[in-house]
């Protein structure tokens, strides 16, 4: 209840822009990541062996593809938010900070492209 009323306060005062949105995004993505990693550990840990055929048949199923996609997106989002805070806290020169923040975004965007395209190719079976 406390969290819900807090959320209400956040929405009512239009605090969702900027810092508090960042704060909430980090917590929400953390929560989903914890759940998704439980899935990953038990699902991936359960396959017979780690030969190519076994891994591709595990990762090309539609449910596992969707779960891998969610896991990747949550990880990349959480990682970019986390590094953003670290950059903002420890890089004090304005210009370096600005470019570090841009570089952080570019790297995570590249990671998103690589993982999403890979999952798509694994799922459709083309190489």
């Amino acid at each position: 209840m406390k969290i819900l009323s807090l959320l209400g306060l956040v929405i009512k005062n239009n605090l969702v822009e900027g810092a508090s949105a960042h704060w909430w995004s980090q917590r929400v993505s953390a929560f989903f990541l914890a759940i998704l990693f439980v899935w990953f550990t038990f699902s991936f840990g359960n396959i017979e062996n780690y030969e190519y055929d076994a891994v591709i048949s595990w990762s090309s199923g539609i449910l596992n593809s969707v779960m891998l996609l969610l896991l990747s997106i949550a990880m990349i989002y959480h990682s970019s938010l986390g590094l953003e805070v670290i950059i903002e806290d420890y890089i004090h020169t304005r210009k370096t900070r600005k470019y570090s923040l841009i570089l952080n975004k570019v790297i995570h965007l590249l990671l998103a492209v690589v993982t999403i395209v890979s999952i798509f190719f694994i799922n459709t079976g083309s190489q």
Partner: protein, 124 residues
Amino acid sequence: MSNRVRPLSPHLTIYRWPITMILSILHRGTGIVLTLGLLSFSLWLGSIALGEDHYKKFINLSTSWPGSLFLLSLSFAFFLHLSNGIRHLYWDTGRGFNKDNVELSARIVIISTFALTCLFWWWL
């Protein structure tokens, strides 16, 4: 720039290092390590997508001794970040902030990190 010579908080050099502070720093440190883990995760997915030869190369690399050492450290960093992250989510509900509680939860985080890392490798 003038702000470069000003002393910056946190003044790590003048404190004794309590367990809570070590964990706070490790949370950030492991976060950075886990970004490297994310990089290897996307390379892993990429190698599966590129076909058997690339996948085998990835597996050979990750089962070599530097690769294994990296994966072991990565799993340790992961479970520390997870355990301490849950501690943070608990704090975010406004609970567990007095001194005794904070130190108790710090000990729980460290014990659970070692326990989960061992359990994980036993399970795989």
